[in-house]
Symmetry: C2
Subunit: 396 residues, 2 copies
Amino acid sequence: MISFEEAHKKVMEKLLSFEEENVFFTNSLGRILAEDILADRDFPPFHRATKDGIAINYGAGENTKKQFKIQGIIAAGTPKVKLNNTNDCLEIMTGAVLPENADTVVMYEDITIENGSAIVNSEIKKGQNIHRQGTDVEQGAVVIKKNTKITAAEIGILASVGKVEVKVKKLPKIALISTGNELVAVHETPKPHQIRNSNMLSLHALLEEENILATHVHLNDDKEEIKNGLNELLRTNNVLMLSGGVSKGKFDFIPEAFEELGVEKIFHRVAQRPGKPFWFGIHKETNTVVFSFPGNPVSTFANYYVYFKDWLYESLRIENKKENIVLGEDFFNPTKLTLFVRVKIESKNGITYAFPIKENGSGDLMSLAHTDGFIALSPNKELYKKEEVAPFIATR
Amino acid sequence: MISFEEAHKKVMEKLLSFEEENVFFTNSLGRILAEDILADRDFPPFHRATKDGIAINYGAGENTKKQFKIQGIIAAGTPKVKLNNTNDCLEIMTGAVLPENADTVVMYEDITIENGSAIVNSEIKKGQNIHRQGTDVEQGAVVIKKNTKITAAEIGILASVGKVEVKVKKLPKIALISTGNELVAVHETPKPHQIRNSNMLSLHALLEEENILATHVHLNDDKEEIKNGLNELLRTNNVLMLSGGVSKGKFDFIPEAFEELGVEKIFHRVAQRPGKPFWFGIHKETNTVVFSFPGNPVSTFANYYVYFKDWLYESLRIENKKENIVLGEDFFNPTKLTLFVRVKIESKNGITYAFPIKENGSGDLMSLAHTDGFIALSPNKELYKKEEVAPFIATR
């Protein structure tokens, strides 16, 4: 049995590189950019009025001059015009191009209009109320870096630079495989000795949150069925994710089937709780990576986060920050295992604290409804005092 | 001009109540539960072995007895069997039903099997390695509360209680309306005086993150076109969201059109930056709520978060926690406005700090690529010292 740190390191040594694909930019939300995005022009692309009012030439005429004859009006979307007489002004709308010969905008709130002239009622500063061309970014500059996860902010930027097709990382093809004759489908009424299949549904939803639409296959506890099924799936997926069938039971054929199919076992069993009987391997022929999680629902859920999600983010080259959290109570780890403890979080004065929740072991799926995440308690430290910090894995 | 607090309060006075609809549970990720979810049976539904090993009767025979004849083997998914002779044992697999007359499970790691008998090599405790029926939750108990946002954890729970159809809150029907003749479509090459329409795309993506698929209509700066368009949209949507057309410009027909259409103006202009010329109203006839944001991209983006998102979450009755963040530097607010300042966040020793980013005003869309959120600085406080806290609105 290896330590959690060793197991995590071994998983991270098996990263995949994903190819790239072009998607329409409105379909790129949540995807990972595979190219730098450049400004196709200066931003703003012209000296742009930031207020509705009048455009004037600050230096023209006397400094004390406060009255400007109105030459006309410029709406946003109008090509650039010229202030013919620098002693005059042009009415200008927010977003419009500053006219030639003008250098300053005075907003309506600061003027009075009488008999075709604008009278300025307040102090003005040369150059005010103008968003100058190229001051946000210049043409050709990188506006979004490669390997950024695309949020609504990036969608707006992609739109403004006209990036209709955007190159993103492909996502891995993943098959979820359930085993175990005790499982029945969700729409069925289980017999007293049966339970419904929930792990596959949780995993499917977890992957959906990463924009991955996994397929799902159930294999019965029959060695031939398992072996044939796995053989096919290894050749058509980048990742197999299993739940159950990897403990020491007489009917757990999976490790044996993998061995016969040429899947190299990297490790089996990790000094952690929950999630100890985790089996990890790689198919040498196809490079398909196999995450075979234990059958208990909290074990599968925790291992998805601490192994698979890290592996996925590192494989996609996304920054995957490790955060600590402040403990709201004392926590204990009297074991020789890394403990992943379910916690609720609460914020106070800008600091977020972790508190234990009532739970009933790794089979207690219902406890996840009250769980905001896991804290990781090291086997080398028995007492974590209140106000100390511990690594935190958010799950909500 | 009203304060941000007043404006926010007025928006929250116009909450809507959304109807309910049934969706297939695998389509409910991210939706808001409109019913309590109950356990359809005890969890676990039977005394369940949590280890592979042997099931024994702890009390039978001598206390010193350490050897048990193996009566047979029980796989997970097998109906409940009986330990015929309480001095014997049954091999049992994880997930299987504890047999009648047995009360304790000893795992394989702690036994040796020889000549059809299991010899126990370690201390055992009565009742060990059994996840007892009903100890997670009892039949009929609430396992997920109404008004919960459904995550992958809830999907697993819905699966395990057989809740195939789940009642969720309907989401509002929203039309996004852009105006402004300076805007061209994303796939077009703008002339020097034009810009691409980005606000609608950001808003569309923001709503997509809430599972809302908004429609988008562009209205030209023509009063009749705007009035007819708005009239139709008011009657077919719960919310209209606009960007631009509400400042003091000569071509900003929108407030006038709304007035003529019977949309009551609740307020226009708020003492805040960015986002000052925000216009908020309600159509008395249809109860359609109108969020008319200023045209600058950062103004629209900030106002979406500080007004609309709060309004949406409160309307859906989701807990919408307000968090503070610790400031990583001194911040200043020399104005009489509430400032929403773009920040980057960094965590250290379990505490997250906000730092200012370089930005160029409310027109600087590109700055949002570096923004993790906004901090809100009150007009009543000029200096926020490093290590003080301020309200934080995360945008990433």
